[in-house]
């Protein structure tokens, strides 16, 4: 019987209203064990109010080496930033 267990990535919401943040991974045979292992490993000091676990193999990642090319489309669109625009002299609260 193979000794290799499924690896699950762990995301924790530190408190209500905030986004879940990746904290690491755990080994587990099934989703309940994954949640319980994640609780024991990553929330021993009240770090979380909610945990997500996702099988590592289901995560698709871009490669950091083609980061430049991959993210290129957004480089030349400075008009997406508020600082691009000229506001009339004296205008406030905008």
């Amino acid at each position: 019987m193979s000794e290799n267990r499924t690896v699950w990535e762990v995301f924790i919401q530190s408190k209500n209203g905030l986004a879940h943040k990746h904290v690491g991974n755990v080994h587990a045979e099934d989703k309940i064990m994954a949640l319980e292992n994640a609780r024991e490993l990553y929330t021993r000091r009240n770090e979380g109010s909610c945990i997500w676990v996702v099988k590592s193999k289901d995560i698709i990642s871009s490669e950091s080496e083609d980061g430049e090319a991959f993210f290129d489309p957004s480089n030349d669109k400075m008009y997406r930033h508020p600082t691009f625009y000229t506001m009339p002299e004296g205008s406030k609260h905008i």
Binding site: M1, E3, N4, R5, V7, V23, G24, N25, V26, H27, E29, D30, M33, E40, L41, R44, R45, S61, E63, S64, E65, D66
Partner: protein, 314 residues
Amino acid sequence: MQNNILTMTEEKFQIRIDKEEKIEPKDWMPEGYRKHLIRQISQHAHSEIIGMQPEGNWISRAPSLRAKMILLAKVQDEAGHGLYLYSACETLGISRQELVSQLHSGKAKYSSIFNYPTLSWADMGAIGWLVDGAAIVNQVSLQRTSFGPYSRGMVKICKEESFHQRQGYEIMAQMAKGTSEQKAMAQDALNRFWWPSIMMFGPNDSDSPRTGNAMKWKIKRKTNDELRQEFIDKTVNQAEIIGLTIPDKDLKWNEQRQHYDFGEMDWDEFWNVVNGNGPCNKQRLNHHKKAHDDGQWVREAAKSYAQKQELIAN
């Protein structure tokens, strides 16, 4: 994409390192960098795991419920540290199973400090204060290591470590101001753990051939001797405050260097323990093997249960 990867030479890698960029698992890296990391991170992980044994030895004999709960929580943290580090190591393409089997075969090492026995309750104080103290100095500097997963693991571990050293120092302080017998136990623990603790930083830089690459690649950020000096400079005053004496007659403040000078370490003893002949090497490894073997049926049952659940669900 393929071209990019192929042209990413060792020089480009070094440029990234010099710019303080973090290297991530899927990035190109020299084979030597990967190997060095696997060796260092796995040794670090195994140390956390084996390190549970000398302290676990006293959980059932802790002198109060408070002391027992603290020690239990501390040992549980160390298990967690081991797991964070195994995870970081696995991102380099080695399996958990392989890591454990390298520990069992003796190919992978763990910190020699854990091959010393814990003879009295004061040893729980000495370990927290000195062994965790030394580990913290090392781990704080490793927060800036160039490998992303290792660095992030260190940040998490450092946050948890701070109570480890304080609980140990508290035990030492209490015993040092207790009865004369208790004070003698504290001093005895300091005597036994001092030298092995300062040797945790490894051989002198002049005898440490791998340091060059590790510093160039920014896997290590400070050399063994720098870290050792930092630890000694911090610790001397802590010993004075609780009225204990560090067992080194050459320990003396050097006004010119603005550091403490200290005596010669016994490297024969160090290598003897590294090479398997310390007081507890066999015991530590056998215990780990037995725990691993005894857990076999649990791992098998969990796997079967998961497979059955999947069958039911589909």
